[in-house]
């Protein structure tokens, strides 16, 4: 088990931020293109010094995802990726690597598992928290309370469409860090970080004192460089997957290194 979890996600993030100006969080859709490939991705993340990792449990109706992740979800399901395979991988990863690992997925998986069992499984697998793309905070009170009892942090999202009152409400319920989406829409498409992102992050900053992660459409080392000074964590999802598909394992390792180089 990692020391990261028991220290709490927020303090882990803050400790890292004392040593470098920006953290890097990367994403894997578990089961796509294969569990073996996922392991190679995780090794590459470890090698590059990625600070946080989110592991997505595939779902048939991924409404917050764009085309690349939608395909990855469906193909992983076709390949038979089920809960057991997912938690086997996460548990192995938590033992082997030092970065904190977050569950990412859709609420139906949690609902079917049951909140209690979900928290127990995350905890047993050595994970640090979870991101549920379609669970609004007003539906999450019970789950989140249960999670905190097990030192798991529910990571909430703030979006550019939220009113100041809503951001404040999310801020009151958040823990660990806050995932700020850099633009409207779903995952995948590139974001122009010069278009209102700084002002949006200002609004998020007013609503919470937690560290801020910025994701959605962050695709290149130059993007990561731009996140410096704007947010505390650069979150890269679709771009990692696309690089794996286009440039293979070596290209992937190289890519992560160039991203990580912008965070020190």
């Amino acid at each position: 088990m990692t020391g990261a979890r028991t220290a709490g996600l927020e303090s882990h993030v803050r400790e890292r931020l004392a040593k470098k100006p920006l953290l890097l969080m990367a994403h894997v859709v578990v089961g796509y293109p294969s569990l073996d490939a996922n392991w190679a991705m995780l090794e590459a993340m470890d090698g590059a010094g990625v600070d946080l990792v989110e592991l997505q449990l595939p779902f048939t109706e991924p409404i917050a995802d764009g085309p690349s992740f939608v395909k990855a979800n469906h193909d992983a399901i076709q390949a038979g990726t089920a809960w057991r395979a997912y938690f086997d991988l996460t548990a192995r990863a938590a033992t082997r690597f030092s970065f904190p690992i977050l569950f990412m997925g859709y609420y139906n998986s949690v609902f079917r598992m049951g909140a209690e069992r979900f928290c127990a499984r995350l905890s047993e697998a050595g994970m640090s928290g979870f991101i549920l793309a379609d669970l609004p905070p007003e539906e999450a009170a019970e789950l989140n309370a249960m999670a905190r009892g097990r030192e798991l942090d529910p990571i909430l999202l703030m979006t550019p469409t939220n009113s100041p009152a809503r951001l404040a409400e999310i801020g009151r319920q958040a823990s660990g860090f806050v995932y700020c989406t850099a633009r409207k829409g779903v995952t995948g498409r590139k974001t122009d970080l010069s278009q209102g992102v700084a002002a949006f992050l200002e609004r998020c900053r007013t609503a919470t004192s937690l560290p801020l992660g910025l994701g959605f459409g962050i695709k290149t080392a130059a993007d990561v460089r731009e996140v410096r000074g704007l947010a505390n964590i650069a979150i890269v999802g679709t771009a990692c997957l696309e690089v794996w598909e286009e440039r293979g394992a070596d290209g992937y390792r190289q890519f992560l290194k160039t991203l990580a180089a912008e965070t020190v």
Binding site: I63, H74, A82, R112, A133, V186
Partner: protein, 420 residues
């Protein structure tokens, strides 16, 4: 017709919930958009002028009120209950979908948004939405699963002629549920100038409530018409159930009449045991879950992955069911039955031959259950079947099912004339 009374008083702190089901489970990005829609809808439905303008539009543009037709030949054939049919097939564009679409269109005008998007399965909701958009001068994009496009090509033709942009959805099972996902993704980007005209009583609050509200015009008309025609309420009301909008609409008129039994009919496909069906409640195969923005009963595996569904009727081929219907089922207020593809084709043939009515394949499911049960009722009882749509759109599917050689010849000749 007067404004429908408050249909659903929410339990304290449970706005948008029908018992255990409903709610709004959407990405945070859409939170304010749904709040805006709830406010616009609440404002509209508290304004008596709004319902009046809706009824007016439906009467001058869409052909309402639709009649109730007594079917003497069918009644005599089954020798039991007197069979009446509510004629939603006579709506402009040929199905009950027009009710919901024109209602949401009026709301879009109040909200001042210039663009609408919609999912469609059978294509009926897509055609209805495209008609409304053309009339109200709105830009329109329709998402339709690739598989449904192949099944319901004529409706794609009409949507495009009406000026809509039809986008083929190629992920997942390439059917209705995937088209709904595509709409939610579009909306998460486009909400500032776009309204999502959801076509059935599913999705996040306020859609189930709002679509039921507009569709309740069916039930309110039908109740009065049955009283006028027979002097009493029907013993049973039958409706097919895809997402559940025509059923919710007709049932809404009779919910408080406890003497009226409400029967929802799901698609039994090739039989419940074959695994190729969409019977979520009647088959007992559905499980509670949360997907596409709402909590209800879905056809899914133990780990919550949605299953492939099947029906000869594209409009019933869907994983979930409206949360209000799931609750009415749980409370025993609505009974659920299923009808297989072959029963449906047989009922369709019989209805055409005996009454000159041409129900859509979807609607024919309701006829199956009524025909099954009519003989065990007495002639003192009247039953009402909601004919949600007309069957013209199904000409290819029905011709195949009936093995019509003349039609096949025609298609061959037509295809040959297009050879390059």
């Amino acid at each position: 017709m007067t404004m429908p009374a408050e249909l659903f008083p929410w339990a304290p702190g449970r706005e948008g919930y029908y018992g255990d089901f409903g709610g709004a489970f959407v990405p945070e990005m859409l939170h304010e958009t749904l709040a805006e829609l709830r406010a616009a809808f609440d404002n509209a439905r508290r304004d008596p002028a709004f319902w009046k303008s809706y009824v007016e539009v439906m009467s001058t543009y869409a052909g309402r009120p639709t009649p109730v037709t007594y079917c003497d030949n069918l009644t005599r054939r089954f020798g039991g209950a007197r069979i009446y049919v509510k004629r939603e097939d006579l709506n402009h564009t040929g199905a009950h979908k027009a009710n919901n679409v024109m209602g949401q269109g009026l709301l879009v005008q109040r909200m001042g948004k210039p663009r609408v998007i919609a999912e469609t399965g059978a294509g009926q909701h897509g055609v209805a939405t495209a008609t409304m958009a053309a009339r109200l001068g709105l830009a329109c994009t329709i998402y339709m699963g690739e598989e449904d496009i192949a099944r319901q090509r004529p409706n794609v033709f009409w949507m495009e002629q009406l000026g809509a942009d039809v986008v083929a959805v190629t992920d997942g099972t390439r059917t209705l549920k995937d088209a709904i996902n595509a709409c939610l993704r579009d909306w998460a980007e486009s909400m500032a100038d776009t309204h999502y005209v959801l076509g059935t009583v599913c999705g996040p609050h306020p859609f189930p409530q709002m679509v039921t509200y507009f569709q309740s015009i069916i039930g309110h008309e039908a109740r009065t018409q049955m009283l006028d025609a027979t002097g009493e309420l029907p013993r049973r009301v039958y409706a097919c159930v895809g997402g559940g909008s025509n059923a919710s609409g007709v049932f809404a008129g009779f919910l408080d009449d406890l003497s009226v039994e409400l029967v929802g009919v799901e698609a039994g496909g090739k039989g419940i045991d074959s695994g190729k069906h969409t019977a979520r409640l009647a088959g007992g195969k559905g499980r509670p879950g949360v997907a596409q923005g709402y909590k209800s009963v879905f056809l899914q595996n133990e780990e919550g992955l949605m299953q492939d569904t099947y029906s000869v009727a594209a409009g019933l081929d869907y994983i979930g069911i409206g949360p209000m219907l799931a609750d009415l089922h749980q409370r025993g207020r609505v009974r659920f039955e299923s009808a297989t593809d072959s029963e449906v084709v047989e009922a369709l043939r019989l209805t055409m031959r005996s009454e000159g009515l041409i129900p859509a394949l979807e609607s024919a499911h309701a006829f199956v259950a009524a025909f099954r049960e009519a003989p065990s009722l007495s002639s003192a009882d009247a039953v009402l079947v909601n004919q949600s749509g007309r069957g013209d759109k199904d000409i290819f599917t029905v011709a195949d099912a009936l093995g019509d050689e003349g039609w096949k010849d025609f298609i061959r000749r037509k295809a040959a004339s297009y050879e390059r």
